[in-house]
């Protein structure tokens, strides 16, 4: 177990290093920070002055290692536009993104577990095919488009839910649904496959031979085993959702980390963009590790 954790930590470090390099290179490729700080009416001299003042004239490698060196100690630098520490910017907005991600995950599980079980129990019937079709549609649907559709129907026409902002829990429902849609197909298919496999197993035959109720056979004996891969993927999906909320936070005007990233990309605010990418990558790696640990908890054979 210890060896396993150490190995995972090494992988996590490698991932972090890769992500930092890529984030650094991509932000430099995407625009010139000096130009955007100087503003649209700046002359070439102004831009050069800004470049010097912010140390952007130094070689890229120097800038990179300076950033990495600080980041390792937890110092993510300062935003050029918000005039604030990047770490406090992210910390301030993280709760919104995490709330959104968890809402999305809960909705996704509430939909995909029952659907997957239903499809498995009715394997190869029309119902099963309909469920799989719906799952496929969900995967094919762009989230910004679904978000807009929901805003028009649930928000404007029916008036059930607020369409933007973060004032109450209701504000998280619609973006949560949109976020969940991206995770539902995979989770539903995985639940279905796991349940079909479990239901055909010898231990389910034993459970039936014991005269257990249908509910106990399905939900206790089969689901417990089918859920093992689902839990792992759900944790990974949560990572996707936290990262993928950039679009949705934009659409629903939720001022979370995704929104911050979007704003900063527009302004070439490199320190913020780099830090957001790094933080999300680290969370993602941590979640995949958590998934493995949860597998070990759920599956006694792995303990």
């Amino acid at each position: 177990m210890l060896q396993f954790i150490v190995r995972r930590l090494i992988v996590a470090l490698l991932v972090a290093a890769t992500v930092m390099t890529l984030a650094f290179i991509l932000t430099r490729l995407s625009g010139d920070l000096a130009v955007s700080i100087a503003g649209p009416n700046a002359t070439q001299e102004d831009i050069e002055l800004v470049r010097k003042a912010y140390g952007l004239d130094r070689p890229l490698t120097t800038q990179f290692f300076e950033w990495v060196g600080r980041a390792v100690t937890g110092d993510l630098g300062e935003s050029y536009f918000f005039k604030a520490r990047v770490s406090s910017l992210i910390a301030e907005r993280m709760p919104i993104t995490i709330t959104l991600g968890l809402t999305g995950l809960v909705i996704a599980l509430l939909v995909s577990l029952p659907l997957g079980i239903l499809a498995a129990v009715r394997e190869n019937t029309t119902l099963d095919r309909v469920v799989q079709m719906v799952a496929l549609l969900g995967q094919a649907m762009p989230s910004f488009w679904l978000g807009l559709i929901l805003m028009i129907t649930l928000g404007l026409q029916l008036g059930w839910l607020p369409i933007s902002g973060t004032g109450s829990w209701q504000h998280y429902v619609m973006p949560g649904i949109v976020l969940a849609f991206s995770a539902i197909p995979a989770l539903t298919r995985l639940t279905r496959a796991g349940m079909i496999q479990a239901m055909g197993s010898d231990y389910i035959r034993t459970a039936r031979a014991k005269g257990l109720s249908r509910a106990s056979i399905l939900l206790k004996h089969a689901l417990r085993n089918a859920a093992i891969p689902v839990v792992a993927i759900a944790a990974v999906q949560l990572g996707f959702m936290l990262g993928g909320s950039i679009v949705i936070e934009q659409v629903f005007a939720l001022h979370g980390v995704g929104f911050l990233a979007w704003e900063s990309i527009g302004k070439n605010d490199f320190p913020v963009v780099q830090a957001v990418v790094l933080v999300l990558a680290v969370i993602y790696v941590a979640l995949t590790m958590l998934a493995d640990l949860m597998n070990a908890v759920l599956d006694p054979r792995l303990r």
Binding site: S201, T206, A209, K210, G211, H221, R224, N225, P300
Partner: protein, 317 residues
């Protein structure tokens, strides 16, 4: 009093294959009936049909199926579930995979008792520990808290047996319970089953392909071939004077120390059990039978050869 289990003319088909084609069996209280035959002869399907545990897509029909006088054919799924694990229990050929890997031995054993008798958990745990001790498991308290993967195949099969006994069943159906085990463990499990059967007065339907097992534990034997019982007899009678050519062939395949000579080839039956449709006519063994003649394609009469001995062959007694 009616027999413990009485099946008349059971037929099970999977699409165009007739797995069981008119099988009649009777198990009396406290009696062990062995059903023998090669792989694919329909013996396991017969056992599963009694428990109503057949896979989806199987078609089960019978003239009658009675358990303690109760009609099993007319029972609803819920009614059948009330009998299973309670008055009739079953153990399987695959001890390695028949226990749920996600739950402890104790949890899996006690849930049967809670389900059927509403026994409180604490009492159920005590009974589970008693039964584990009874099937020869040392340190039952420790085993109750363990997961199946921590136990050997022999131990798991003992757990399955103990679990089957939780509700004091009247009938135990055992489908090749020792096939997957080491020879030494096989002997232990068999001895255990025979002893439990005697002590608890269990009726037992034991499915096996091993005539050595039959000789040791069966009171009577039904020999199955291609979905039909081709010979019924009390155990001693069957071994002394087998009447059906298939039974005779099976017995020739068993080496008996002292009776066979060192370099003499052991008997064998050429070919394998054919897959036949539900409406197959005549004797299904005719292709492999050295006594076969054209009349074997017609309907075969069942001959009596004494009180409880009968066989299905055109050749008269």
């Amino acid at each position: 009093m009616s027999a413990l289990l009485e099946i008349e003319d059971l037929a099970v088909s999977f699409g165009r294959t007739g797995a069981v084609r008119g099988t009649s069996l009777t198990v009396e209280r406290g009696e062990t009936l062995c059903v023998v035959g090669e792989s694919g002869c329909g013996k396991s399907v017969t056992a599963l049909a009694v428990m109503n545990l057949l896979a989806r897509g199987a078609r089960r029909t019978a003239r009658s199926m009675r358990f303690q006088g109760e009609d099993l054919l007319g029972l609803s799924d819920a009614g059948m579930a009330r009998l299973r694990g309670n008055d009739m229990a079953m153990i399987f050929q695959e001890p390695m995979t028949s226990l749920n890997p996600a739950y402890t031995v104790g949890s899996q054993m006690t849930e049967v008792l809670r389900r059927h008798k509403g026994t409180p958990q604490r009492v159920a745990v005590d009974r589970a520990a008693d039964l584990l001790a009874r099937v020869g498991i040392t340190a039952p308290g420790l085993r109750l808290g363990q997961f199946p993967h921590q136990l050997s195949g022999g131990l798991r099969q003992r757990v399955m047996i103990a679990m089957a006994l939780m509700c004091e069943p009247k009938l135990l159906i055992a489908d090749e319970p020792t096939t997957a085990l080491d020879v030494t463990v096989q002997a232990q499990i068999l001895r255990l089953l025979a002893q439990l059967q005697r002590d608890l007065g269990l009726g037992m339907l034991l499915i096996t392909h091993d005539l050595g097992i039959v000789a040791r534990v069966a009171h009577k034997v039904a020999v199955m071939y291609a979905g039909k019982v081709v010979e019924n007899a009390a155990t001693a009678e069957l071994f002394a004077s087998p009447r059906h050519p298939y039974t005779q062939g099976l017995l020739r395949c068993v080496p008996v120390p002292g009776k066979i000579k060192r370099d003499e080839p052991l008997g064998s039956i050429p070919g394998t059990v054919p897959r036949v449709g539900p409406d197959f006519e005549g004797c299904a063994f005719r292709e492999r039978c050295s006594f076969a003649d054209p009349t074997c394609t017609q309907e075969i009469p069942r001959h009596r050869a004494g009180g409880t001995h009968d066989f299905l062959c055109r050749l008269p007694a």
